[in-house]
């Protein structure tokens, strides 16, 4: 059969978009560093200790998240009971919360929380649900014949899990670990809010070099270092990548819970209580405490710019900005991410070109835009569109990660027969591929929404004054002492938890 080459001209659009809005600013700031004291900056004690802290806190957080997740994955994906879907959806909520809200949840339980231990706790709170989901999905699609055979031979469930299932899950656990590692290494809002002068990560170092010390050469050297680290992780991820379980594959059916599962039931309920209910309920309770009594004053205050007008705009206006930005991000990322995924199913080249922003932080983008588009004939920085564009670059790789496997999984025969019927590429995409991945598209869209709303790294650089977004306002509140600020931060965060929870619940069920 004659196979048509894909339309090369279509590659132009994503390449130009990434070129102008990602590689140009990133290139500009990273070459600035090269011309300076690159090596002495990189080998300085400050840099090495920041690099060390970035790596170890992310390793410990990702390791613990995965370890906590394994029994939960068994409980939620290998057995069935009424309400398991709600359970699954609920523990996924922290993962989609804005970084800054996660940090504020820690401050709700421990008002003076600062230091490495709280950063790691916050990371675990945020990521164990995602780890559960990734490992669980792999476990669900594991061939259960071996397990049944072992059980028949008298192996207990724990022993079966350890000697039969876990070795088969090695790759999925490794890839879950790597993904969570990336998230924990890029947790700017958490480290900025819960950190001390000793807990510095590469991101906070870049931020403080650029905005406090105004040492742009050093900031740029650090950007170079982060790019190297990102490429390293992405390459590692490619080695262990397992393709997410597809719906077409044969899967074993989960069995009903029984008494022998009691330890895992107790464990799961304990995890859920400690890692989900406690932080969330404490936060909501604090939101309703004002002047040592129960009231809704914190919520009413959100309508204002705080009693001493600390804020530039009210919570409501910030919410408007966030939603407006989010719609632009959604439009851009689905259009460009969709196109990229489609093109990548044809030829898997330059994948890393589009995935790199995922491993880089939006802090770098914010800084890059400030440096590159701060003047001249193209007034990008003074337009409010600057922030949604920066955010969409972080979201597009996410969309690709979701869409590409789903598209690759589509049965080739359907497409071939459509081609025989003379359908052109565009029609095949619009009529066949798109409808088949609609659900994945919905999930990608909800992650786009959540990432855009939660972005703090780029927003902190680019959204000031009346353009402030929700995380920016939240950070202003929580970084200043005072009971009113604290109460307002709690109230605003609990609203965001409910909204994010609703989004994830709708897209999951």
């Amino acid at each position: 059969m004659k196979t048509r080459s894909h339309p090369r001209s279509l590659w132009v659009a994503p390449f130009i978009f990434f070129g102008i809005f990602f590689y140009l600013p990133i290139g500009k700031i990273s070459t600035q560093g090269l011309s300076g004291a690159f090596w002495s900056d990189l080998t300085s004690h400050r840099t090495l200790s920041a690099l060390w802290f970035t790596v170890w806190q992310a390793t410990v957080s990702a390791g613990l998240s995965c370890a906590i997740a394994i029994p939960l994955a068994y409980f939620l994906y290998r057995t069935t009971f009424s309400g398991y879907r709600t359970f699954r959806a609920l523990i996924s909520v922290p993962f989609v919360l804005p970084n800054i809200v996660v940090a504020i949840s820690m401050k709700a339980i421990f008002p003076g929380a600062t230091g490495a231990i709280y950063i790691i706790l916050a990371n675990i709170f945020m990521n164990y649900g995602m780890a559960t989901r990734l490992i669980g999905n792999a476990w669900k699609s594991l061939d259960s014949q071996c397990e049944s055979a072992a059980a028949l031979d008298g192996a207990g469930r724990l022993r079966t899990a350890i000697s039969i299932s876990l070795p088969q899950l090695r790759k999925s656990i490794a890839s879950a670990f790597l993904l969570i590692f990336v998230y924990c290494a890029a947790n700017f809002g958490i480290v900025l809010t819960l950190g001390t002068p000793r807990t510095r990560t590469l991101e906070t170092e870049i931020y403080s070099a650029a905005t406090y010390d105004l040492d742009f050469k050093r900031a740029s050297s650090l950007v170079g270092l982060q790019i190297l680290l990102a490429i390293l992780i992405l390459t590692a991820a490619r080695f262990v990548t397992l393709r997410p379980a597809s719906d077409t594959r044969q899967r074993s059916f989960p069995r009903r819970l029984d008494l022998r599962d009691l330890p895992v039931i107790i464990y799961s309920i304990a995890c859920f209580t400690l890692l989900f209910l406690t932080p969330v309920l404490t936060l909501i309770a604090r939101a309703f405490r004002h002047n040592f009594q129960w009231s809704t004053s914190n919520f009413t205050l959100l309508n204002s710019t705080q009693t001493q007008s600390l804020l530039n705009i009210s919570f409501g206006s910030a919410a408007f900005n966030s939603v407006r930005n989010c719609l632009v991000v959604l439009l851009l990322s689905l259009a460009i991410g969709g196109l990229c995924s489609y093109l990548l199913t044809k030829v898997r080249i330059a994948e890393i070109f589009f995935l790199l922003p995922l491993a880089l932080s939006s802090v770098i983008l914010g800084y890059g835009y400030l440096e590159t588009y701060g003047s001249g004939i193209f007034p990008l920085r003074s337009s409010w569109l600057v922030l949604p564009i920066a955010q969409s670059l972080v979201v597009i790789p996410l969309v690709i990660r979701f869409l590409l496997p789903a598209l690759t999984d589509i049965n080739k025969e359907i497409i071939e027969s459509a081609k025989l019927d003379q359908a052109d590429q565009f029609v095949i995409w619009w009529r066949i591929q798109m409808p088949l991945v609609r659900r994945t598209l919905l999930i990608a869209a909800s992650y786009a929404v959540i990432t855009s709303i939660g972005d703090f790294g780029a927003a902190n650089f680019l959204a000031y004054g009346d353009q402030a977004t929700l995380p920016v306002v939240l950070y202003q509140l929580i970084s200043k002492p005072g009971a009113y600020n604290y109460g307002m931060a709690m109230a605003a965060s609990s609203i965001l938890i409910v909204v994010c929870g609703a989004i994830i619940y709708i897209s999951e069920l």
């Binding site: 279509l10 701060g374 003047s375 193209f378 007034p379 337009s383 569109l385 565009f426 004054g465 009346d466």
Partner: protein, 330 residues
């Protein structure tokens, strides 16, 4: 079935992309521009200008005033340096004498900075504590290294707090090269260092709401006016020798899109109606000394006679002082 020619749909798609790109560029271009009657004043977080005052300004001048708060004075100056090629505001309020040198060295200001208000950074002490413990309260910062005052003082980290930096600068001007010795002696006398003014004053200081353990705190000459109890007497007082005079300025930003309007903002902040509000809203003295001062300030928060801070080059020397300080406390 026939779905139409392949080539046509790619051309159509390419056309769509080009149109979208053009719309995008146009959108960025138009949203990046400001209206001619808009004027933006960027300030630090402690600046207070009520809605009524903003409306009053708009009505009197015909401009539309926007306010941006950009963190503390240090963050404010850095934000302006980062964006100086295309300033995000027309006028700036809140650069003080500790940052004026940096602002000038970076060419932020068109013309000169104009002083609007001032205040003094002074050590405060808890009068009740000293009476109860039968210890004479210190009258000069010289005494803080003496054994009688061991473990009694809390200050702010000069790396993190402008109040802390002001005090460090005071010691540099007062003691010259011996300032390092002074801080070593303070450290040996069990000085407590906090990361910010709120922590030091509201948590660790014994004379305020936190009822902490330290009866001497680095604060402001005006602070005792806020600690007047029901008997009409302040719980605290200032140590008059060793105060730093902090002056805040307003200026037009270089490259401002609307410099005329920026000047109108400056004139408004210097007019009597606005000057009068400095003590009650920002705890600073108006630069126009003919304006009335609250009576509680006159009794409880008198101004110190001699102050420090006018003969230092912060922009040039600050890093050296901070390095020397951090070597002792780091």
């Amino acid at each position: 079935m026939k779905y139409g020619s392949k080539k046509v749909s790619y051309k159509a798609l390419a056309a769509v992309f080009i149109v979208i790109a053009l719309i995008g560029f146009a959108a960025i271009y138009t949203t990046g521009k400001t209206k001619p009657k808009d004027v933006t004043l960027i300030t630090h977080d402690s600046f207070v200008m009520s809605k009524t005052q903003v409306q009053d300004f708009d009505k009197k001048t015909g401009y539309t005033l926007h306010l941006i708060k950009a963190g503390d004075a240090g963050a404010l100056v850095n934000r302006l340096i980062l964006t100086k090629t295309m300033p995000i505001a027309d006028a700036v309020f809140g650069i003080d004498n500790t940052f004026a040198g940096k602002a000038e060295a970076n060419g932020l200001i068109a013309g000169k900075l104009t002083p609007t208000d001032f205040g003094d950074v002074c050590m405060n002490y808890d009068k009740t504590w000293f009476a109860a413990h039968h210890v004479a309260p210190p009258t000069s910062i010289d005494q803080l290294t003496a054994p009688a005052y061991k473990g009694l003082t809390v200050v702010e980290d000069p790396n993190l707090s402008s109040t802390g930096l002001s005090f460090l600068a005071t010691t540099v001007e007062k003691y010259g090269a011996n300032y390092v010795q002074y801080w070593k002696a303070l450290n040996a006398n069990r000085l407590k260092v906090d990361n910010g003014w709120e922590n030091a004053y509201y948590t660790d200081f014994s004379g305020s709401s936190g009822h902490g353990k330290y009866p001497i705190v680095l604060s402001y000459a005006s602070s005792p006016a806020d600690e007047i109890r029901s008997n009409g007497v302040s719980e605290t007082a200032s140590i008059m020798d060793g105060c730093f005079k902090q002056t805040e300025y307003v200026g037009v930003l270089k490259g401002a899109r609307n410099p005329t309007a920026a000047q109108a903002v400056i004139d408004y902040l210097l007019a009597p109606a606005f000057q009068q509000t400095f003590p009650s809203t920002m705890y600073m003295y108006p630069i126009d000394m003919t304006q009335p001062i609250p009576s509680s300030w006159k009794t409880a928060a008198p101004l110190p006679g001699k102050t420090y801070g006018d003969n230092l080059d912060f922009n040039h020397d600050e890093k050296t002082w901070l390095a020397a300080w951090s070597a002792i406390f780091g």
